[in-house]
Each structure stands twice: as structure tokens, then as C-alpha cells.
Symmetry: none
């Protein structure tokens, strides 16, 4: 099945946002055996959008559009497709009800234009929006399938994965389905991982081996074509085992979950609790953890000890450790260890993680940007401190530091 | 001047990387008055690349290509363009020398294919590569300008800014440059904002009015053509004033910064400090604040009081407020107020923000998903609590709650 992606939005052409939607859809399609031949971005312009739709329809079996389903005047996707295909637009009642309910519950007056978000093309199937208001559409016109998705990634992603992919798969029954398996690694960079697997990657044919890096984690997707999960499993087994032999110590999951989920699963299983002390990560570590539903089972909370004052006041790091001639300083093994230890005492948690370092852009305490210490304390065990030297900008260093801290805790929990 | 961007690379179509090049080039073009009408991504395939080049040349004055200039067999851009235009490829000697020197200095044997990186189309101008090996090309064929850039962003960006833009500008002397201004709003949703401005947006011609939403903030870009900043300012003034009259209370900046930067600027100006207590936002609010370089000037840190135990232990919320028959509970005006008040006492900050609510996916304490209380305490002033009813998934609720908390603090600081 050949597909094209059309992202609609003048903000993309102005470079105000990056087209992450195209990447997400492309990756999902690759995983389901749908080949993407072109990605196009077009502005909120009737004539050019129509031109793009017609060209894509001529070349592909499926045209996947994102954007232009919102309530405003420049949200045109459904109107343009309706005009071209000669179909009417009607209100999808369940979506309209959800919209009205949302406005009523917030006590906000609903403006008329919001009704546009409930519109559907004649003969199309609704694609449910679990995280927003605009309903998606799936339809077939002159042999080409059209999938209309909202632009905001938070709405587009679940709609595509949960509703559009099944709709498409039910229309590609004559193809042998893809079977894939994800292996998730942390504590190792993408190029080191690729280096370890270079011979496998270069000689790959079946299964295919696709590694990609994502914010401090590396994913390998093994893919083959198979009529059943058992057959698929059998076809990838030898390759999978070889990869595990070489990189097993970094493998934290065999499903697509972030490392924080793997950590929370182990904490839950062992009925252990966690608290964190964040200096240079500044809340990101807690944010990653609390992004996982149910994290409150194991995660007590923590302290953002961003200033030295709070490292001292809230976590009892002596001022003579933090400041002054010859003091170790806030970014030091000593501070990381005290922060982690004190977490256990002050929060009553079973594990304490601390992160202190220089996120940049400027050095601090004469220490270089990217130097980070991770402290790991555990009831009735010796506290460990890990030293990291990370590169990249401030955002990247925060992200890598948080993921590395989670990796250290995961290793500890796994071996417990 | 009308332009299109073609990014070449199968890795983009597989979703292995995101097309940040298109965003960068689009933004630079917008700043220089070059209008981007389409962005296309095509794989390393001769026929489809040729098709894309020909279509773009028909529609635009300038076709900007990235990718496909490397040494390998699937780097095809120059070959495809040479075949189409009937021009020969020749070695650019200065680039060839740089390539040989690099290999010699690293003591690596240069393989023949590396010569491909020094190729130039007949009649083209070289675009120097200060950060890599492949030379860029700029040429005009049948009235259309073609800019060929390498794919890696660290090579493409300096080449585009320093060499391609000047080359293009020398060919657009008769056009009047663009002048634009950004207005940033918080505390109001995109559709409400557009509703307030509907008559202006519908009747817009000069300046153009482009609103777009981004994670709890709304941006409006006003754009006109002008020979000088003064002229540009004068041409947008009436529209800008009218927008400010209607929505001034939500306008937190006239440059493209997030609300957390605006808050930090006001805190810095008034030499005030901030601490936060986060329950349902779970670290996100601190993460947003500490993403801003220099935030340590005003941001002391905070407490992630995710569990009731930590609300009690670290911020002194009485257990009888948090739990038990008839207690207000963790998600309540009472808890939000105590958390904010206690921050001032325990951290010594001038301002304290607390956020407590139900991020979902399930209700908590019998309270609905999306109900959030924001407490705002200030030295020598009465503590205020704001009630929010947010919709969306867990991630969205956390994001909106954090941005709303920042908006309340911004309002307070602005009026101080």
C-alpha cells in the first residue's frame, strides 16, 4: 500500500513549527507495511491544498492529511475535499455533543465556529478524537483512501494509532501483514549501539533492523512479514537473540515504553517508593515520571533544589560543602550523595535519586557545561554517585541527565 | 519571490529523522521576504526526485533542495539535476583540495566516491561548506533558481544563511522586504481569541494577521512589506492598537518568548524570587521555568508534593485537611492556599505558586479529571486561589495547568 502525507498549515511554511507529524505518521506506516513515497506541506490556501490532494490521489493508494480541522476560517481541509468530491458536510452528533459538553462544563460560551470541528464528509467514517474536539474522517473516493487528522500532535497521534491504522489495515487484507518487535535500550548512545550491531545492520534482509534514537533512549525495531504472531516471532528469533547477546545489559524493555515506565513497573512490583532531588534537571525528571498514569503508586515526589539556599534549607547540605574557597560545590560527588541520602530521611522513601550538574549555556563553579552527578541512595545500602559528561544544548543535557538517572535506578532495581 | 523546499532522503520518509531543515529554511526565508508555498520530502529515487524538481520549478521562482550531496550511490541530487538540464558535472578544485586535505590530516585513505562531494553543475556558483565536505550549488535554469544544500543541519544551516541567502537577495532587488511583529497571549484559548478578532481577521489585507496556538499560549504575527522598520511599524500600528484594545489583558509579550520567560523577566526586574509546590503538574512547571537560561537568578526551586505524605511532611498541610470524612482533600482551595503560603515560610521566596488537581486519566477524591487549583502567595499580601476546569489528556492538563499558573503570576507581577 502506497501512501503520501499532506500536512496543512501556513505555520509550517513560515517555519513556526516543525513537522513532527510527518515523522510520526511515517514511522507508524513503516511499522505497518505502508510505504510513504512523498511528504508535502501546504499552506491554508484552498487552491494549493486542492492541487496537493489531487496530485497525491493520482500517485498513491492512501492520502493522509493532518491539520486544517480546527474551528477557524483558515481550517479548510474538509471543505476543500467536500468541494472536490462533490459531497456534503454534516454534523457528527456524538462529536457535537462532546464539544457542547466540554464548553458547558467549563462554563464558557461556545462560539458558532466550534461546530465546524464536528463536521464530516458524506460517506466517511468518523475517527474518534480522544484528546481534543475535532473529529477525524476516513473515506474512499475514486479508489483512493483519505484520512483526515487534526494538526495538534496530542490529538493526531492517538487518533492515527488507535483509529486510522485499524481502518487502513482492514483495507489491505491481501498483503501479508508485518510483524514487528521493539527492543528498547538506555544507557548507550545511538552510534555506539549501531557500532556494536554494524555487521547485522549491513547484512540485514529479513528481518529488517531499524535503530532510531529518541531523547536519551534507543529503539530497535525488528520487522518481518508473517501470517501470525508465532510465525513472526520465529522469523525474528535468531536476530533478536544475537542482539540480546551483545547488548542485553542495556535492554530495559521489549515493548515501546520509556525507561520511566520500566522503572515504575519495577518499583511497583517490589512495592518500593521513590523520591527525587533535582538541581540541574529542574523538574524534568519528576515531570517524566509523573507523565506515567499511576505513578503516584510509587513516586512520593521530590525537591527541586535549584538554588544553593534550597539545597541547604530543604535537604540539609552544609553551606561549607556548597560554597567558599576549596568547597566541593553544588556540582560535586559530595553534594549529590548528601542530597540522595537526605531524601530517604526527609521523605521516608525507599530510593532517592539526586541530579546536580551544569546544564549550561555557561559553566558554573568553574565546572564545564555537561558535567552531571547522579546520586542513588537506597535504604540499608551504600549510596552511589555516577559521573556523566554530556554534550549538547541546555535542553538536551537536562533530558540526557534525567534519562541517565532513570537508567541507573533501573539497573539497581533489576539486579535487586 | 516564491520558493519551494525539497528535502531528499529515504530516512525522512521512514520517519527515522524529523525534517528540521525545512523549518529552518522556511523561517529564514520568511525573515527575508521569500514566500514558501510548498515543502516536499522525496526519497533517494531518481524518477521521483526528478518529478518533484520539475513540479517545483513550474510553480516557484526558487527551488531549495537539501540532501543528496554526499559521497554515496544514493546521493543523487546533482546527477538528477544535471541529467534534466543537460549540463555537465565538473570538480570544484577548491572543494576537492579541502576534501583531500581533510583525509590526509586524519590519516585516512580517501575513497574515490568522496570526489563526488566536490561536484558542481556547469554554470553554477559554488556555495561554500564551512562545516563539512560537500560543496553547495546555486544556479538558474529556464528562469528558476536552484539552491542545492547538504542534508546534515550543521552543514546546511551556515551554508544557507551565509552563502545562499546573499545569492538569492542579489536576485530580488526589486522586492520590498517583509516586516513582522509577534504578539504573545496567555490565559485565553485560540478559538476565543480568534472570535474576538474575527472581523479583523476576515477583512485583513495589509498587514496580514496570522494567529496560531502552541501549548497553552497563542501567538499573533502581523506582517507587512516595508523598506524600513519605521515604515513597517507605522503600517501595522492601527491593527496592532486595535488588537491591544480588545485583548490587552492577555498580551504578555511583543516578541516570541514563552510566558515563563516573561515571568522571569518581571521577577528579575523587581528583584523578586519564586518557589513552586507542584502536585498534579508533577515537575512540569519547574521544568518550564528552568528551561530558560538564567532562571536561577529568580527561581529558588520547589517541592514536588505528589503524595499526600509529602504535602504533609514537607509543606505542613494538616492530615485532617488532606484525608478523612468531610475533609477538603488534596485537590481543594484549602490545600492550594496552604501549599502556597508554606512555600514562602519554608523557602524564603517572595512568591509561591502551588498547583494541585486531577490530571487523570481517572477521577481522584471524587473530583473530576481536569479540576485544578492554583494558589498564589506573596509576601505581605493575601493568598489567592484560582480554579481551573481543563480538558484533554493527562499531558495536556499538566501543560495547561502549568501555563495557567504562570499566567496568574504574570498578571500579579504586571500589576504590582
Amino acid at each position: 500500500m502506497k501512501a503520501e502525507i499532506i500536512a496543512v498549515g501556513t505555520e509550517l511554511l513560515l517555519g513556526q513549527i516543525v513537522n513532527t507529524n510527518a515523522q510520526f505518521i511515517s514511522r507508524e506506516c513503516a511499522a505497518h507495511g505502508i510505504d510513504i513515497y512523498f511528504q508535502t506541506v501546504v499552506g491554508d490556501n484552498e487552491q494549493r491544498l486542492l492541487e496537493s490532494l489531487q496530485l497525491a490521489a493520482k500517485r498513491a493508494d492512501v492520502v493522509i492529511c493532518t491539520g486544517g480541522l480546527g474551528p477557524t476560517q483558515d481550517d479548510l481541509t474538509k471543505d476543500v475535499l467536500a468541494a472536490w468530491t462533490g459531497s456534503n458536510l454534516h454534523i457528527h452528533e456524538p462529536s457535537m455533543e462532546a464539544i457542547s459538553t466540554m464548553f458547558a462544563s467549563r462554563g464558557i460560551h461556545m462560539v458558532e465556529s466550534n461546530r465546524r470541528q464536528a463536521l464530516m464528509l458524506e460517506g466517511s467514517d468518523p475517527l474518534q478524537n480522544d484528546t481534543g474536539l475535532a473529529v477525524g474522517n476516513a473515506l474512499t473516493f475514486e479508489g483512493t483512501h483519505f484520512i483526515l487528522l487534526p494538526g495538534p500532535p496530542k490529538e493526531m497521534k492517538p487518533m492515527f494509532t488507535n483509529y486510522a491504522i485499524p481502518w487502513l489495515k482492514s483495507r489491505m487484507t491481501d498483503e501479508i501483514p508485518l510483524y514487528s518487535k521493539m527492543l528498547k535500550f538506555a544507557g548507550i548512545g545511538e552510534s555506539s549501539l549501531e557500532h556494536e550491531l554494524l555487521d547485522l545492520i549491513q547484512s540485514q534482509s529479513d528481518p529488517t533492523i531499524a535503530p532510531y534514537a529518541n531523547e536519551g533512549e534507543v529503539t530497535i525495531r525488528l520487522t518481518t512479514r508473517a501470517q501470525s504472531a508465532e510465525e513472526g516471532e520465529r522469523k525474528i528469533q535468531a536476530t533478536e537473540n544475537e542482539i540480546k547477546n551483545r547488548l542485553g545489559q542495556y535492554l530495559y524493555a521489549e515493548v515501546d515504553i520509556p525507561i520511566e515506565t520500566a522503572v515504575l513497573q519495577l518499583l511497583g512490583k517490589n512495592q518500593r517508593t521513590l523520591a527525587v532531588a533535582e538541581s540541574c534537571t529542574g523538574g524534568l525528571l519528576s515531570d517524566l515520571i509523573t507523565a506515567v498514569p499511576g505513578s503516584s503508586q510509587s513516586f512520593l515526589g521530590g525537591i527541586i533544589c535549584y538554588s544553593n539556599a534550597l539545597k541547604h534549607k530543604l535537604l540539609g547540605v552544609p553551606m561549607e560543602v556548597l560554597e567558599g574557597e576549596g568547597a566541593p560545590g553544588a556540582v560535586s560527588v559530595e553534594t549529590a550523595a548528601i542530597l540522595a541520602d537526605q531524601l530517604l530521611i526527609r521523605t521516608g522513601s525507599d530510593f532517592g535519586i539526586s541530579v546536580t550538574g551544569v546544564a549550561g549555556p555557561s559553566p558554573s563553579e568553574g565546572k564545564p557545561v555537561g558535567l552531571v552527578y547522579v546520586g542513588l541512595a537506597q535504604k540499608d545500602a551504600t549510596t552511589e554517585v555516577f559521573t556523566l559528561q554530556l554534550s549538547g544544548n541546555r535542553e538536551f543535557i537536562k533530558q540526557r541527565a534525567a534519562k541517565s538517572a532513570l537508567y541507573q535506578l533501573w539497573k539497581q532495581l533489576k539486579d535487586n
